[in-house]
């Protein structure tokens, strides 16, 4: 059969006739038959190639195309040839746009990436008269590998197209280009921005919506690319431009506009306040921004933007407005106050999702320390504590935990509110108790005061019976016992008997406070307090989970930090593959793997954009606007935290970026001191030392916990180290001169080593080297010249960090299986105890020396060395992740019934060879820890059974 068909085909081809439809049909039967041999199929391919050269009949071409598609799909190893044929002139130069479109889509469906279609063909196809083909090309432009410059021209050109869908696609294309590309040409950026702004007035909704997106993205680029000091004005202008769109009649456009408003970043306070007021504020009257010549826009255009958004007809828009407000709050305290009033009003909204989002925003304010509640708002706010929905109640309590109340009146209102909550919804007990405890800790003095007022309620009634059956009393007791642990100083005393009352409630209280301390600890604490009110809190290791801002993840109402509204909206009908990708990433679906490669490089671009921003922020620091810069860095940190860490290579890059941001943040904080303290203040010294310590820690981490950095990257980090040392040297009040000089010279030496044969050292590095030489040559180290170092700092300017490698983050996970306060490990006092540990190491090489640190207190600390053989032996021993179990001995068991100790894992680094660690038998060098401390509970073995 095969032979027969092939022969007839050959025959007709030899006669210079193209294949007939019939012949093609018989070829098709060969193609779909799975038993057909490969050699036959190759000859089919040849036949088709020849036939294509002979015929220009569109029907034949169409069938041939189908055949080729089938062939490529069924026989993967033949698909390259089939694809070559597809790409050949014969199909693409066809006069029928439909055929061209078909072949294009066939090409796209068969290959996922890297479709080489040369630019000239791409452009000529685009410029053809067929609109549908044009649309298809624009839509898939990024899958076809076409030069950016060509794409830019094509996209920009087609924003002029009379067909609205083409305009939309062109705008979308411009947005993608802007996100991926690296544009320095100011003319291009301005041109694209202006074109997008023009299209904000388009007649079609979807074009306007796309234009809003484009204005946002190109606007950001415009701000970044501007050289002179009018960045603030520019970003304000872009913001106002977008703010003018929130009154559009189409919900799609409004959604997009609010989404965009949240993305612009640094906005001046005047403008922000204007968005919350429909009337034009005095400062903004007649203020006209001219971001680019011809695009004048008055500040009044943005008037009341958020007011409109928050009372929009559609809950999606209201949510989106809430969300954007949230991102802008960090920039101005006054704005936050005004926004808070609105948020309080939003608690009356008829849609629950919107109410939640509003609360979320308030929570965000609380975490960023921008929450200032007034009495009027408090009433409104506390009414959510009796809301029907448990989610709303719990979020409200979450906010209350973080709140700082300036007046006793407010505090009392707040406590009353929580008590009311407890009364109406007894099921909330656990959470209410925990909230009360936190509030109590935050407001020690008020707590003492309120307990004094309520003490008659707490005392036993005349019959000698305790009125402890009421939950209300229990709530007061929880509040009372929080006072000694307060963050404030000198809070006053709680009568010791209160603590003994609390003991009767120990079960319920400890259940509620399980996130802070376990039952035993609570009991110990209570009994200690009931004996004397003066206690030292050193013994009680309270987990400060909630009070550190970083540790507190934002309430997980929405899975991504990108506006939740946009996602839902877009998935329901809109088009945005970007959002789609993120969603797929979360689901870890198969499709995800395909995107991984592309996404990784995309991530790198995003990260590098962040670095670019950081560089800009640094210039702010040097100008003295440290607060603004810190704000900006914080926003960046948030942004980075939202990056997708799911795929393999990304986690390291994201962690590295975060760490870098932290370093810069701390550096900025120290740098500020350089400007401020010209005079000597002892208390400032203390503060400064603290800041230096933080900086040092961050620097150590960034140096030691990442591998896979390129030389250039490492050099930049070294330079940061140098700056830190020099900064230290310039402050004579805190520096230990000799050590620091030693460190400095060693770092310089290391840098020199890295420089060998590669790039030129930076100006600062050269200067440092020079002055180091000067210092060394001038007799002994006695001549200490802080001014010299002070001067050195002037030559420092932050270079833009460019991430090109894939840094990997060294970290570890430590688990003690089956151990908690209820199930302690057994031990016999005086004899070594064994602690089984499940250890997972990430990116730790076999050469590195790992140590376990087990400590009960500062005095009894013990180090255990982890053998490298052991590390290698782990199952799942890929180079990246090593997983194994290890039984660690603990020698210093005390003579006690039970005790807790903490374990952590560190890696010894040799680079820092200044001896600071002085524990015998332990590591010789600095030991950065790879994981947070893990609590281990141990109990005397005979005691253990009693416990259970």
């Amino acid at each position: 059969m095969e032979v027969h068909v092939m022969n007839s085909v050959q025959q007709s081809l030899d006669n210079n006739q193209s294949l007939s439809c019939q012949a093609l049909a018989s070829l098709r039967s060969l193609v779909i038959n799975p038993t057909t041999s490969d050699s036959t199929l190759s000859s089919v391919l040849d036949a088709l190639t020849r036939s294509l050269q002979l015929s220009r009949d569109s029907v034949i071409l169409y069938h041939t195309l189908k055949l080729l598609t089938d062939l490529a799909a069924r026989r993967p190893h033949l698909s390259p040839f089939a694809l070559d044929l597809l790409r050949s002139d014969s199909l693409f130069s066809s006069a029928s746009p439909r055929l061209v479109g078909e072949s294009l889509s066939a090409l796209l469906s068969l290959t996922s990436t890297g479709n080489d279609i040369d630019a000239a063909r791409f452009v000529s196809l685009c410029l053809g008269p067929s609109v549908s083909l044009r649309l298809c090309l624009l839509r898939n432009a990024e899958k076809l590998v076409v030069r950016e410059s060509v794409l830019l021209a094509v996209f920009l050109g087609f924003t002029r197209d009379p067909f609205p869908y083409v305009r939309k696609e062109a705008l979308d294309g411009l947005v993608k280009l802007c996100k991926n590309g690296d544009f320095d040409d100011r003319d291009v950026i301005e041109g694209c921005y202006c074109r997008a702004v023009e299209l904000l007035r388009d007649t079609e909704n979807y074009v306007r919506s796309a234009a809003v997106h484009a204005v946002c993205e190109w606007g950001k680029l415009l701000v970044i690319s501007s050289q002179d000091g009018n960045k603030q004005d520019l970003s304000d202008a872009v913001f106002i431009q977008l703010g003018g769109m929130v009154r559009d009649m189409s919900i799609e456009v409004r959604l997009e506009a609010f989404g965009a408003l949240g993305k612009i970043g640094l906005i001046s306070e005047d403008i922000l306040l204007q968005t919350l007021c429909k009337k034009v504020l005095g400062t903004n009257k007649d203020k006209i921004y001219k971001p680019i010549e011809g695009l004048d826009i008055p500040a009044s255009a943005v008037a009341g933007a958020f007011i409109h958004g928050l009372e929009d007809e559609f809950s999606e828009v209201r949510m989106s407005a809430c969300f954007s407000l949230r991102t802008l709050i960090v920039f101005s305290l006054q704005f936050a106050c005004e926004a808070l009033k609105l948020m309080m009003d939003m608690l009356n909204d008829d849609s629950m999702i919107v109410r939640l989002q509003a609360l979320d925003t308030v929570h965000h304010m609380a975490t960023t320390d921008h929450l200032k509640v007034e009495k009027i708002d408090m009433h409104r706010f506390l009414s959510t504590l009796v809301d029907n929905s448990s989610v709303i109640r719990s979020v409200t309590r979450k906010i209350l935990r973080l709140a700082k109340l300036p007046q006793f009146k407010l505090f009392k209102l707040c406590i009353d509110g929580l008590l009311g909550n407890l009364e109406t919804y007894p099921q909330d007990e656990v959470d209410v108790f925990s909230a009360l405890f936190h509030i109590g800790r935050n407001h020690g003095k008020f707590t003492v005061h309120i307990i004094e007022e309520a003490s008659p309620e707490l005392e036993p009634t005349c019959g000698g019976k305790l009125g402890f059956d009421s939950t209300r009393v229990a709530a007061f007791l929880v509040l009372a016992i929080s006072a000694p642990l307060s963050h404030e100083k000198d809070v006053g005393d709680i009568p010791p008997r209160i603590f003994s009352y609390a003991v009767t409630w120990i079960g319920r209280i400890s259940y509620a406070l399980s996130d802070i301390m376990n039952q035993e600890m609570l009991l110990a604490y209570l009994s200690k307090c009931s004996r004397s009110s003066a206690i030292s809190l050193v013994d009680f290791k309270i987990k400060e989970t909630l009070l550190t801002v970083e540790g507190d993840a934002p309430i997980n109402l929405c899975s991504t930090v990108d506006s939740p509204v946009g996602m839902a909206w877009k998935n329901s009908g809109g088009t945005s593959d970007f959002h789609h990708k993120i969603q797929l990433g979360i689901g870890k679906s198969v499709v995800h793997a395909e995107y991984e490669l592309g996404e990784h490089s995309e991530l790198r671009k995003d990260v590098n954009l962040i670095f670019k921003k950081v560089k800009d922020f640094w210039s702010l620091v040097q100008l003295g606007c440290t607060n603004e810069a810190l704000k900006g860095i914080r926003v960046c940190k948030e942004e980075v935290a939202s990056f997708n860490k799911e795929s393999a290579g990304c986690a390291g890059a994201v962690a590295f970026t975060l760490q870098y941001l932290r370093v810069i943040e701390k550096l900025a904080a120290v740098w500020e001191y350089r400007r401020l303290t010209k005079t000597f203040h002892p208390y400032r010294v203390e503060n400064l030392e603290l800041r230096f310590a933080k900086l040092d820690r961050r620097l150590r981490e960034i140096r030691n916990r990442f591998i896979g950095l390129t030389k250039g990257e490492e050099l930049q980090i070294l330079e940061l180290l140098l700056v830190a040392w020099v900064l230290r040297l310039s402050k004579m009040e805190i520096c230990c001169y000799d050590t620091t000089i030693k460190l400095l010279s060693s770092t310089v030496a290391h840098a020199e080593f890295l420089h060998e044969g590669s790039t030129e050292p930076s100006n600062f590095m050269v200067e440092v080297k020079k002055s180091l030489h000067d210092v060394g040559s001038s007799s002994s180290g006695s001549t200490y010249k802080p001014l010299l170092f002070e001067k050195l700092l002037d030559s420092f300017s932050l270079q833009q960090f460019v991430l090109c490698g894939t840094p990997r983050y060294i970290h570890a996970e430590l688990k003690v299986p089956g151990n908690d306060s209820e199930n302690p490990l057994p031990f016999i006092p005086g004899l070594p105890a064994s602690i089984p540990l499940a250890i997972t190491l990430h990116n730790v090489s076999t050469e590195s020396r790992c140590w376990l640190r087990i400590s009960m207190s500062e005095e009894s600390t013990q180090f255990v060395f982890l053998d490298s053989n052991l590390i290698c032996s782990g199952n799942r021993s890929s180079n990246v992740v090593r997983e194994f179990t290890f039984v660690a001995p603990f020698y210093l068991t005390p003579k006690a019934i039970s005790f807790t100790s903490s374990v952590s894992l560190g890696i010894e680094c040799f680079s820092e060879n200044v001896d600071r660690v002085k524990v015998s038998g332990g590591p010789k060098c600095e030991l950065p820890y790879l994981c947070p401390e893990k609590q281990i509970f141990l109990c005397k073995s005979s005691e253990r059974s009693a416990f259970i």
Partner: protein
Amino acid sequence: MAIDCLVLGAGQEVGKSCVVVSINGKRIMFDCGMHMGYTDSRRYPDFSLISKTGDFDNALTCVIVTHFHLDHIGALPYFTEVCGYKGPIYMTYPTKALAPLMLEDYRKNMDRRGEGEQFTAEHIAECMKKGTWVSFSFAHFIQMLQCLEKDGLGVSLSFRYVFKIVISYERNHLHNPSIFGVWTGERYIIMKDQLPGFNYFLEVYCLKLSFYSDLTPSVIPVDLKQTVQVDKDLQIRAYYAGHVIGAAMFYAKVGDAAMVYTGDYNMTPDRHLGAAQIDRLQLDLLITESTYATTIRDSRYGREREFLKAVHNCVAAGGKVLIPTFALGRAQELCILLEDYWERMNLKVPIYFSAVRNFDRSLINAPGPCVLFATPGMIVGGFSLEVFMQWAPSENNLVTLPGYCVAGTIGHKLMSGKPTKIDLDKDTQIDVRCQIHQLSFSPHTDAKGIMDLVKFLSPKHAILVHGEKPKMATLKERIQSELGIQCYCPANNETVTIPSTHYVKADASDTFIRSCLNPNFKFSTCSSVDKSYLDSNGSKAVSRLSVSDDRVSEGILVVGKGKKAKVIHQDELLNTFGEKRHEIQFAYCFPMHMTRTENIPSASDLLCGLDKCTLISRLSTILSNELSEGNILDLGEQLQVESFRVSVCLSDNCPHRLSGSFQSNLESVFFCCCWAVADEKLAWKIISIMKGSTLQTT
């Protein structure tokens, strides 16, 4: 072509909205309202201005009513029944359903106040329900029935009109029709079974069949965004306006002229109504209300918060809350608001709505807190007054009042200062100790909303109605200065005439169409001088990339005498007229000074051909130093700047040389230049530079 806009009511005032617009030969009356403040003839618009003879049917194409408020519909019964207008009236479904109730309510009230009756209950019923007989052929009728039968009972029809099919027996005469079916637009409700002896009388009596329809003239309900073809030329379309249920903005288009009349609208949504919604249209004229021409209102959340707080505090303290409202509009809003709040806060206090007819009066004095909605608003009498008399003496109780109360009502008395006693009549006096809360909900858009709408629609002209004169003047100024839109606010009985758009249809040549299909964009860098920099750095040229697509603007419109206009491609132009291309060029030949450093015999020796290029390149350096614009090209023996060319002239009698004016001397050399008209300025500039400078030669 022009649009004439005759304002019969609501010009520089609030009340009796009525605007008659003549647009391309069609005449539309928007709204037909009455003024509530007057009882004399000023109450109604002066309809005589429309037609002196009173033949309104021919004078007007149609009447459009935006919503059921009396200042927009109050004069309609008068206009149709007394003045005798019989033409079509358009309004939305809800307006049509609710308007009779409002009108009837008003008529009764007027009765009570002893004012002269302008129209009767029958008038209202006639005005709203009136239809005419439309006869169908028998065959057509059968066809329709068959169609119905085929689809069964739940037949869905593509059009949505409520109309009754009435069959009239020849025997019984026209006056006693029997109804046998109703189409509600979605289904055919009454079955054919109800038609006794269907087949029987069809055969025996051979009926004259008629449809009694609401559809044909008189009141025609329209859907939102439904385009209604009023007649061959006039299209109207309703858009959602917020304000009250059924309120609409109307778009009207005749030929190429288009306009929008907004009626009352609200740009911010509340709990039961959305915000006004309209497409981006190409408009010649926008007539908009301007009730709050200068006010900018706060967020509605603040108002809601105050209201809820007052009510909650009252019921929490065990008090009773009386909310006097009219049955439509605000009552629904407050009801939704309270209901929602109750649910969220888990409140169990009962809420009563007395509009339900049989309200148990014993509940009024039942112990415990409650909330009661009672009609009418403003406490003018009826149930709300009854309850008020009982509840007012307790200071625990609360009365919420609407934002606006007519003078003379109890509501008004309560609002103007807090009285302790109110005299109802000679014998009855009410002790007022209860709390009073004033609501400030308003369904009108504020100044910002008006500006936003005008900005969004960007019409060529705008007319403001339904507002107070001084405030309108302020808004008018703002619209003109900020948006650059011509704006008017005419007084009553004034006519505003504005030009309207008129499109000319033109053929297009094939070349032109082909050129339109293919994109043809060009990039350019437009440069201009940014004046803002002038003070700091002197002038600085700003350049920016911009793109243009010439495919559409490339056409040339050709209108021949007595022929239809035609658009052609510019390349075809010369062909079409059989003309040749002409170009005008200027030429000028003049001497230029030269100094010599070496001793060279004479100019002619110098110009023996060898040094031409040297001279030109010298000249080029001079020009590039002096000339700021243009691109100087050195072409060897020639120099070119744009279209300006210059070369060394050797002939003694060059035709371009002005004879006698220059003396040929050894110190100078002649240059001959030529240029096109477009670059004339540039050319003279270059020439003056050349004349002013001296060539150095070696």
